[in-house]
């Protein structure tokens, strides 16, 4: 059960979100009146506030993308490849009951209920840049806790654990996109151990001060801000610790276009398009893409001497 705390939302952001939620609630109510002649309570969707304790650490001071854009423009092929339709198709996605299993080269493997994970650590808000490999980007206030904290407390990896592999739910009945083999489902992603333990790497349970909307990867997702967005795997059910480098879903689908590291790099183009610039959602003109998505200072140490053209 989530404890409801008053949340510290900046007044300039309130209008966007309240209007958006109120509009949907009104329409739901209007629809139920039309059908039953009675006013019934609209179902509560992703609007539950999260008790955010810490703010500001590692956050960027850039204009945040509107909640409406962030929650209606989604790459979540498990539902559909049509970005505008994910929100609608994910509407009834069941995020409870939900468990996350840990396994592999660790001393403590286990099965965790999502609600126990949410209560494990003080929740932080991190305003991160998010850069999709398609060359659009957003600035999103994620809510979560460092993956490293979870690994230290709950897993205790052995010396054989060199990589962390994440797996998304496989459920074609709920996720219509999984009925087609457009990607070899379930979606798999991975990080090197040092990347997983990095303070920037976030396990996220919310955004904009609230529980994650289904279309954004509820109830648990990864956020790795210095890498292309496809590394930030959504709706996680499995975290396993491996000795060999996992082959991620996009590596499998198109190995000459998507690599394991996927570090944001304006100097290394995608084979079919440039990565030098990006469209910040909400802005008219494109902006310059930054090395490591602007997190160079924090992460470049992990990649000293690496040939970025070879290890993309």
């Amino acid at each position: 059960m989530l404890i409801k705390w008053p949340s510290d939302i900046k007044s300039s952001k309130i209008t966007d979100k309240e209007l958006y939620l109120n509009r949907r609630q009104f329409m739901a109510m209007a629809a139920s009146v039309a059908v039953t002649g009675l006013i019934t309570e609209p179902e509560v969707r992703a609007g539950q506030k999260l008790p955010v304790v810490k703010r500001g650490q590692f956050s960027v001071i850039e204009k945040q993308t509107s909640f409406e854009s962030a929650s209606t423009y989604n790459n979540f092929y498990e539902f559909t490849t049509d970005k505008d339709n994910v929100a609608r198709l994910a509407r009834n996605f069941r995020t409870r009951p939900w468990t996350v299993s840990t396994m592999g080269h660790i001393k403590k493997s286990g099965v965790f209920d999502i609600d126990s994970i949410i209560k494990m650590f003080p929740l932080e808000e991190r305003v991160y840049r998010f850069r999709c490999v398609e060359a659009w980007s957003m600035v999103i206030p994620w809510v979560g806790f460092p993956l490293g904290d979870f690994i230290k407390k709950c897993c205790e990896p052995t010396s054989k654990a060199r990589y962390v592999k994440f797996t998304t739910l496989l459920d074609p009945e709920q996720m219509p996109g999984q009925r087609r083999k457009i990607i070899d489902w379930p979606y798999v992603e991975g990080l090197r151990m040092d990347e997983a333990m990095h303070p920037l790497t976030l396990l996220s349970v919310g955004m904009y001060g609230e529980v994650l909307p289904n279309q954004n990867g509820a109830p648990l997702r990864l956020v790795v801000p210095w890498k292309y967005g496809f590394k930030s795997i959504k709706s996680i059910v499995k975290i396993s610790f491996e000795e060999k480098m996992p082959v991620s879903s996009w590596m499998k689908s198109s190995p000459d276009e998507y690599g394991f590291y996927a570090n944001v790099n304006p100097d290394v183009d995608h084979p079919r398009w440039s990565q030098a610039r990006e469209r910040r959602i909400g802005e008219l003109r494109k902006s310059k893409t930054l090395m490591f998505n602007g997190y160079k200072e924090q992460v470049s140490g992990m990649y000293k001497g690496m040939d970025f053209k070879k290890f993309f």
Binding site: T72, T81, W136, S253, S254, R272, W273, S274, I281, L284
Partner: protein, 202 residues
Amino acid sequence: MESDDRFIKLLKPGVFIISLFPLLWLAVQAVTSGFGANPIERMLHHMGDWALNFLMITIAISPLQRLTGLTWPMRLRRMTGLFSFFYATLHVFTYVALDQFFAWGAILEDVIKHKRIIIGFVSYVLLVPLTVTSTNRMVKRIGFKRWQALHRLVYLSAIGGVIHFLWLVKIDIRKPLIYAGILAVLLGFRIVSKLLKKEEKI
């Protein structure tokens, strides 16, 4: 027959107005729900889709006449062809002005380096001589035989347009494959007709 005359008279203006609907749809969207989070991308895709749609319609007219015996579709072919060029131009303009903001250096680099842009650019340029020679006067000037040969470039443009679509899509190639299928049928029809005509002569 009077009703036929009226039909013919209303046909062209009617189709003209209907052909503007894709543009009208954009305007309506702009005023009501907006274009979503990435309006420029949506406009680009919308214009590109309709440039291809009108190309397919144009190429379908001749087989349609041969299969049904109708004669009025041919009267519309110049218009549908020109609308294809119209939407293709809007597509290119959206790319140059809104997507790239006239950043000619970036555009040139895109055109030279990225195959999806090269082929898109070539497919567009192929439509220019066809548009320029679309008038009756032009047909007379260059002679029907030469005009007919020149306008076979539309096949190249359509093939290029479909490949452009195929090469820009991330991984879901369903829509480009549908266009490829339609084009294959339309071109296949022509090839088969030609072969059958040759057999008849013999």
